[in-house]
Each structure stands twice: as structure tokens, then as C-alpha cells.
């Protein structure tokens, strides 16, 4: 659970600038908490159409490097980004059949993590923990092919 100021500081230690674009992108990302990259691109561009797609992706990479966002690949559609501050950390349990995703917290893991990280002399920035399985319902039914959510559809914002 990091605060905005911390993220700013982290970015500074990397020697990067907090440009207007980056501030806008971070503000919008925080508003979402969960989002898909192209979603954020579209959103940012409705506010300032001059912001380029590349800038958003470059900023997301930066934010990931400082541990401000996590990137989740749930296998269906585009990877999902999640901001790590402004909300307690949680992990994910996903049904590989129907795609249901359960978010849960497990404080005991957090403690174990610190231990492991210390063991290797690392400074922890972020983490992702995903469990894949079958939900109660899908354990009983065995469809030939899993249901597949539609692809992400994002129409280009007219600049």
C-alpha cells in the first residue's frame, strides 16, 4: 500500500521527470485501480488527445519498475494492470474454465515474502500471486471447450 508521494519519490530516484503527461497517466490509472493498457490509453486521450500511445506504455513500464503497478496476464485477452497503492494488496484465484476471478488477502504470505526477499538481499517492490483451478461449479461440468470472453475492443479516439 503505497501512497502517491512515494511513487513520485521512487520515480525521482530513477532520475526521471514527472512530466504533465506522466502525472495525468498516473492520476487516471489510480482512478481505475484495475485496467487494461488500451483502456488507459483511451481514457487519457479523452482528457488530452495529444498524449501518444507510446507515452502511456512507456509510463506503465516505468511504474512497473518502481513497483507502482503490477501486470497480470490472465490468459484471456489483454494483460490487466493493477495499481499497488491506495488499496491493500490482494492475490488472485482464477477458474480456468469459466474465468471467474476471486481476489483475496492473505497477510501470512506477505510476512513470508519479506523473509524470502531478505534471504536474497533484495528490496521488494511488488509481487503477484495467482492460483489457477476449477471453481465448485466447473468441477462438475466438463464442457469440451472453455468459454472464452470476447477480445478487447477499443475504438481509436479521434484526436
Amino acid at each position: 500500500m503505497k501512497r502517491f508521494v512515494e511513487v513520485e519519490q521512487l520515480l525521482r530516484t530513477k532520475g526521471v521527470r514527472l512530466t504533465g503527461q506522466r502525472q495525468l497517466i498516473v492520476r487516471r490509472a489510480v482512478a481505475y485501480l484495475h485496467f487494461v493498457a488500451e483502456e488507459l490509453v483511451r481514457d487519457v486521450r479523452t482528457i488530452d488527445p495529444s498524449v501518444a500511445r507510446g507515452t502511456v506504455y512507456r509510463t506503465l513500464a516505468l511504474l512497473h519498475e518502481v513497483g507502482a503497478v503490477e501486470k497480470h496476464d490472465f490468459r484471456y485477452g489483454a494483460p490487466n494492470y493493477e495499481v499497488t497503492f491506495a488499496k491493500a494488496h490482494h492475490d488472485h484465484l482464477m477458474c480456468v474454465q469459466c474465468g471467474e476471478i476471486i481476489e483475496f488477502q492473505e497477510p501470512r504470505w506477505e510476512r513470508l515474502q519479506e523473509e524470502v526477499v531478505k534471504r536474497y538481499g533484495y528490496q521488494l517492490l511488488s509481487h503477484t500471486h495467482k492460483l489457477y483451478g476449477l471453481c465448485r461449479t466447473c468441477q462438475r461440468i466438463h464442457p469440451k471447450r472453455p468459454l472464452k470472453p470476447p477480445r478487447l475492443h477499443v475504438e481509436e479516439v479521434v484526436a
Copy 2:
């Protein structure tokens, strides 16, 4: 730590066929333990050039659905696949600066997982756990831009 037969059974419960192509793909995947999708495509095609890329990807999706492989996106280059049987499970610790990846085991996590999964009535198939941070060295140096490994280069196998 699943065995090959278990994977076969899991596939059967899905009502899918264990075709020659799938057996070959699984055998080669097991030989690698860690691999990138296109690597596997190339490898399989050197043995049987008639196997299509699509078949390999479709098989990987199937294997993931039954928990036989995990897909790791380490942000640099192509996602990395890992077979979950024939080797004890391990998790990953990665330095976001230099890209170093440490694999480690933590049996206490495995136990906690069972507990969580049971709580939600799920049947666990696989899981991934990644910690991101800065290694000892990178905590001291702050390069403007992180070092980036080269892109994956895979030349097409001449059929």
C-alpha cells in the same frame, strides 16, 4: 509435481483426444521444462515439420487449462512457459533493473495455498508467484534506463 499419466487423465476428463501431435508436443515440452512458445514450435517442427504453429499454441492453452504448464510474463521478451510436473514447484524473484531471476522453493506457501483454495471450494491446478524488486547490486546503482535483453530471435524452420 504431476506425472505424465495424470496429465493424460486430466486431458481425458476434458473430452479431448490425445492425438499424435499433442503427445509429441507434451514430450518436447517436458524435455525443456522451461521454454518460450516459439522455441517449442521450432523444436517440434524439427521432429515433425508438418505440425502447425497453431496446433502448438492450441495445445499449450489446453495444457494450461489442466494445470500442466504455467505461463510467466517477465516483461522482457516473450512469455516463458514452464511445465509443472517432473520437477518440484518453485517461485520466482526478479530484479526489475538487471533482469536477474532467482528460483526458490517455499513449502510453507504451498500449505497456505491449499487452505485458501479450500476456503473458496476450488480445486487447485497450478499457481504462479512472482516477487519483483531490486537485487543487492541494483539497489546501489540507478541507471537512467534499465538494461534490456535482446528480443527473441527465432528463424523459421524450413519445412
